[in-house]
Structures are given as structure tokens and as C-alpha cells.
Subunit: 204 residues, 2 copies
Amino acid sequence: MAETSGQKLLDAAVHVIRSKGYSGARVEDICAEAGLTKGAFFHHFESKEACAIAAAAHFAANADALFDAAPYSHLPDARARVLGYVDFRKAILQGELPQFTCLLGTMVQEAYDSRPAIRAACDRYISEHAERLEADIAEAKALHAPDATWTSESAALYSQAVLQGAFILAKAKHGPKVAADCLDHLKRYFETLLPIGGMEHPAP
Amino acid sequence: MAETSGQKLLDAAVHVIRSKGYSGARVEDICAEAGLTKGAFFHHFESKEACAIAAAAHFAANADALFDAAPYSHLPDARARVLGYVDFRKAILQGELPQFTCLLGTMVQEAYDSRPAIRAACDRYISEHAERLEADIAEAKALHAPDATWTSESAALYSQAVLQGAFILAKAKHGPKVAADCLDHLKRYFETLLPIGGMEHPAP
DNA sequence: ACATTGACACCGACCAGTTGGTATGTACCT
DNA sequence: AGGTACATACCAACTGGTCGGTGTCAATGT
């Protein structure tokens, strides 16, 4: 079989939760999307919440693979990798909204208070993704803005905030155009944060 | 009576939906928060969805009043108002998460696909808020960066994206600190977008 | 002054549909 | 034979929403 039932359920959970949120996603919706029944669902997951947490891990693993395979991530220059990341995120704003929005941001928004385990999982995978970016930012900062007051950690998290917010606006206006515009602003910001000339404020 | 039952229900709806999202918020949760019963709820609203839409309007009206009353909005200089807006948004990151996060962003995230009326309401009030900011940005741009390629509209929407994303990160990490850091980045960006000297690239 | 009326705001028991979860059966593989 | 991987049928709990009833208050009649 090309895809196991467990994977089908995880893919279905990712898709349905991205469309309707965690509470709005019924386990039968997920089963229908996967072409399976509730028996299969509860054979693979002990509860709906456990499925959501597994889906978060599945989503994060897919994202890791996607960004690892992206051309920008093999560029030799750290600054080019940072800007390439933003370009790549803009490039993948394709298709329907549930196909490019973030499962983690969607879930944590409604589950942060009532489902601690889901909040923790979302926090973990968002932070891990930010850390990958942070490594590039730190390297670029050392080269282009070593004395700047901002930290590479906060800059990496900021980029994730822009992305999450861009998804919300894209949902509100139902289309990816606003999100693309937001990423243009983010790219411009990174360009000024990492000026090509070198240090932004040479010591007096 | 200091507050009518209708207002109590709206305030309660705003609070509960901010905590648990739209689907996660049970109408009995809202009633309990308001100290009323389901009879009162369905006396004032014809459905849960209608209540959510009214709550969005209520939330937007409260926000309008808050920002109108804020000191920054009376500054004579447009650039100072734009930066003052960001500072003010940072300053109100106080208390528990449901007290400063955005009802509109929370609802549209899970309702954009299945509840068109809620999506439309959230889009409207987010856009109206952005338009208020856009006016100040446009004025500041005319003074400090008249030839820049970015539009005041996209810059205003970008600021909303940063805010929405900052709320998501704050929820994931359950605390407002990340959000404050994001607003620092946003302020720095606006400072470079609107350079004090005047035009950023004088024509050759 | 006082009883009558009726609109309004609200209560809380109730209903029908839905939900997450379970119990049981069965086809298949080793 | 026995365990794995599902399907089917089912249940108890809960959900949004309804409905008859009650307390309050102001207008009206006398």
C-alpha cells in the first residue's frame, strides 16, 4: 500500500483541522476524509486529542522535509538563506487556504487554554521551526550586523508571527494575496536588518 | 442597571470565545459567565452564530473607543501617531491572555470556511481598524517617504498581521513577552519605513 | 388610589440531533 | 491458532435550540 491507514488518518486530520479548527473538526469528518471508519480511528489513536497531537508532529515533520528540500536552504550565504526562506514561504502560498495555512497556529489559537497538551505540542514545533531559521539569522547577523541590539531568536520568532498573522488575514479576506504582501514587508525588514555593506553602525 | 443583560451577554461572549474559540465556546459557558440562563441568551440572539457576530461588532466598538481615547491618537505628527500606535499596542499587553488577544483573529481562524457570515464580520472589523491606521501611515508617508514603493494600505495590514501573529505566539508560549518583542521589531520597521530625514532615496 | 391589562425580560425544564468513545464481529496475515 | 487491522452497531453524554411559564413595570380604566 502506498500510504498506510495511519498516515491517511494523519493527513486527513491535518486537512480537516486546518479547515475547521480543532473543536470544529469532528472525528467522523476526519474518518470520511481518510476514507475510513471510526473503528480505524480509535484503533490508531486513543482519543481525538491524541490524534491532534500526532497530527501536529506529522505536520511538523512534513514541513521539515519541505524546507530541507527547498533550493534556498543549500545556498552558501547565510543572508541569502534568510531572504530565500521568505521568498520560498511566499512561493508556496498556492492552492486553497487549508493547503498552505499552519495547523499549529490554527490549533493553538483555540486550544491554548483548555488543552494544555495541544498547546505544548504547537509551541514545541513552532519553536523548533523558528530555531532552524534562527541559525541562519545568527550567522548572517554575525556577518552583517554584529553590533545590532536585536537578537536572532526574537527575529526568528518575529518572522513566524508575521507568517501566522498573514495566514489570519488571508483567511479573513479569503485569498493569499494579503499574505504575499506581508511577506514582501518581512523581506524588506530583513534586508534592512542585515545590510549588505556590513555593520550598520560602525563604532565611533 | 449599570449594564444591561444584552451587554453582559456580549461581554461574556467576547471573553469566552477569546478563551476557547467559537466552536469550543458553549452557549451555556457564555450564559454562566454572564450570570444568566439560556432563556436570556435566546431571547437576545436568534442563534449562537448571531451572538458571535454581534460580539464581533461589540469588540470592534470597544476597540475603537479605546484607541480614540489613547493619548497617542491626538499627537499632531503623523509619524509619531504611527509609532505611538505600536507603543500603545505593546503597553496594553497586560493581564491574562483572553484580555488582550483579538476576538476577530481567533474566530476567523476556525470559522473562515464553515461560517461565511462570521468570516465577513471579522474581515470587516479588522479592515476598518487597519484603515484608521492607514490614514496616519499615508500622511506620514507623504512627509517622510513619498517615493517609496510600498503602499500605506499594505503597511497597515502588515501591522495587523504582526499583531495577530504575536497573539498566536503569546498563546503558544503562554505569556505576552514574545508579543512585546514582536512589536519592538514592528516599531523598528516603521522607523526605517518612515525615515526622519525625509525621502529615503532622493532622485538622481 | 387602586385594580386590570399586557408587553417585555427572563427562567429552566425539555427535546431532538450530534458527539466522542466503546463493544463486538470479521477478514486477513503469519 | 492467534494477533492485527479494520468495519458495524451502538451508547451515554452533551449540544444548540424550544417552549410554557413567571415576575416586573408602566399604561390605562375607573
